[in-house]
């Protein structure tokens, strides 16, 4: 039942002493990167002096802005020829970040994710269909390597093409899938159209769902639709990707692997730690990465540490389902999108006015984005064709930037409610 019994069940004292050792080593490595090298000199941080995990608090936080500002090599802590792979955050032009991995980084990531999926119940005799996109996104390749390591037969199906997905599932008797929750719901409707019953006509028993925040209700729906167990997971490219935190069969919170990460939860306003059980922003430090260590990374994700020990016997603490974000990032179909990014693109298009609003909808079982855009008063030349062309151009420009096709409505100048103070740019109607 354990992939790595010693690592998964070691007592807290031992775990902490491993953390101290690895933290010291991580700081030594981080110091070799241009960014942390300067930071350590300026702040007078001496990795050799670190003798408790608590001393991590002397290190300033790292943010996404820092990673972006030092694109592409500012955080690289090894010679470039040691790097064997890179990943970059999803489709967010102008806001991308890059993460470099050495051979040992990939091995470490693969092992901790293998530990996670083995914990959920995947075994050598399983057939694993990976329905995530392969490429810069970490969800595809990350799971691919981990499932191979467990020894399952891996079907690298990639994202989309629902009919083929269902065909693959039936032909090769897939038992485990990795899927974005909203797509799992959508795929079920395709099953219906094809008159295939996933409960009777497939061998499915388990799904790994992630890459998108979702509710407990949504998980229950997926489990009910397919007659399977669905396990939640949490990860982010900056911390490798999937495998940071994963649910065990108890399905009551996600174990966060503390031999690979130092976990802090802070108050996003005061930046001071909050006690276990209380909600705050998750802050993570890599402990096993050599190519690009990242220290005290502010994930912007809101969660809490679930107090108490899990019935499964693992000693690594659990985090709760992600409650939201401290920034305005939207996640739609697994793609990270910032309102600012949309604003930037819109303002480059002649004829677009100053006000716009993004509405996220769940129609049936599919998420979609509606962008309402005010037209510039002076732009209007009295003809419909011109407006229709403007609308098409906005759709096209946004699609090429965010990789999602939005519905665009043109609004009369002044037609959107004007805002006092902070503009309300996003209305999320996807709440259940």
């Amino acid at each position: 039942m354990y992939w790595d019994r010693e690592a998964e069940t070691m007592d807290r004292g031992k775990l902490e002493s491993i953390q101290v050792e690895r933290l010291r080593e991580t700081l030594r490595r981080a110091r070799k990167s241009p960014y942390y090298g300067k930071l350590f000199r300026d702040a007078g941080i001496e990795p050799e002096q670190v003798n408790s995990v608590d001393m991590i608090k002397a290190i300033p936080f790292t943010t996404k802005d820092d990673l972006q500002a030092h694109w592409p090599y500012g955080f690289l802590a090894v010679m470039k020829d040691e790097v064997i792979r890179m990943h970059a955050s999803s489709g967010t032009t102008g806001r991308s970040i890059v993460v470099f991995h050495t051979a040992s980084d990939i091995a470490g990531w693969t092992d901790v994710l293998a530990r996670s999926i083995y914990m959920a119940g995947m075994r050598k005799d399983d057939v694993f269909q990976n329905m995530m996109s392969y490429g810069l996104f970490t969800g595809g390749l990350g799971f691919h390597y981990a499932a191979e390591k467990v020894g399952a037969l891996v079907i690298p199906a990639g994202a989309g093409n629902s009919k083929r997905q269902i065909q693959l599932m039936r032909d090769f008797e897939t038992t485990v899938i990795h899927i974005i929750p909203s797509y799992a719901i959508h795929l079920f409707t395709v099953f219906g159209e094809l008159k295939v019953d996933p409960k009777k006509d497939t061998k499915l028993k388990m799904a790994f769902i992630g890459a998108e925040p979702h509710s407990e209700k949504m998980r229950k729906k997926i489990e009910e639709f397919y007659g399977i167990k669905a396990y939640n997971s949490y990860g982010l490219s900056e911390m490798n990707g999937p495998g940071v935190s994963f649910e065990c069969p108890a399905q009551s919170g996600m174990h966060i692997w503390e031999d690979h990460y130092v976990v802090e939860v802070i108050d996003p306003e005061t930046l001071t730690p909050v006690p276990d059980g209380e909600e705050g922003e998750l802050v993570l430090t890599t402990l096993m990465r050599e190519g690009m260590p990242v220290l005290r990374y502010r994930t912007k994700d809101l969660t809490r540490i679930i107090p108490g020990q899990c019935e499964c016997g693992r000693t690594h603490r659990r985090i709760d389902r992600i409650k939201g974000r401290t920034d305005d990032m939207m996640i739609l179909k697994g793609v990270n999108i910032f309102p600012l990014q949309i604003e930037k693109k819109l303002m480059e298009i002649p004829g677009v006015g100053t006000n716009f609003v993004i509405i996220l909808e769940r129609e049936g079982n599919e998420d979609s984005m509606v962008v309402k855009v005010e037209v510039q008063k002076e732009y209007f030349a009295g003809d419909l064709k011109q407006l229709e062309n403007l609308r098409k151009r906005i759709v096209e420009e946004l699609r090429s930037d965010i990789l999602i096709t939005p519905k665009v409505s043109l609004i009369e100048p002044g037609g959107l409610p004007s805002t006092e103070g902070k503009a309300v740019r996003v209305i999320d109607n996807r709440k259940e």
């Binding site: 037209v375 008063k377 209007f380 030349a381 009295g382 003809d383 419909l384 064709k385 407006l387 229709e388 609308r391 409505s409 043109l410 609004i411 009369e412 100048p413 002044g414 037609g415």
Partner: protein
């Protein structure tokens, strides 16, 4: 002579046309013709009125997005082939009509056909040389449209 058409950008939702006509009624502006073109969630209301400049001002003041553009108001015969004569001529000269609409005048003898074309000046010369009369705002205001109530 050229006439003016008012175009108003409006979202496709209840009350938008009423808002336009409400303002014009208050300003005592007479509407001679109207068409609406819609595309999904928005559209354009086109109006021929007796005082386009004043109408534009009033609508703009109310916050509406208004455009005033030149169009040709061509007087045609109200009989079979009356419109055909005009459109055949424009087609032969390769002039594209972006928008057009018409209304019949009193007595069924004449009709007015409003065309919004891509080569305004050339089209105008051509139409006038072809024996058609074009109307300006003043002339449009003076003519009496056919009225079904008046037997």
């Amino acid at each position: 002579m050229t006439a003016y058409q008012l175009s108003i950008f409006a979202e496709n939702k209840p009350g938008r046309l009423a808002a336009v006509t409400g303002i014009l009624a208050k300003e005592k502006i007479n509407i001679r013709a109207t068409t609406i073109a819609t595309s999904d969630t928005f559209g354009v209301i086109n109006l021929i009125v007796d005082d386009p400049q004043r109408a534009q001002l009033a609508l703009s003041k109310a916050g509406m997005t208004v455009n005033l553009r030149e169009v040709l108001a061509v007087l045609i015969e109200d009989k079979p082939g009356g419109l055909d004569k005009l459109t055949q001529m424009l087609a032969k000269e390769n002039i594209n009509i972006n928008n057009a609409y018409g209304f019949v005048l009193e007595g069924h003898k004449k009709a007015v056909f409003v065309v919004d074309v891509d080569q305004m000046e050339r089209a105008q010369k051509l139409i006038e040389r072809g024996g058609f009369k074009t109307l300006d705002t003043e002339a449009l205001s003076a003519i009496e449209p056919f009225h079904y109530m008046k037997y």
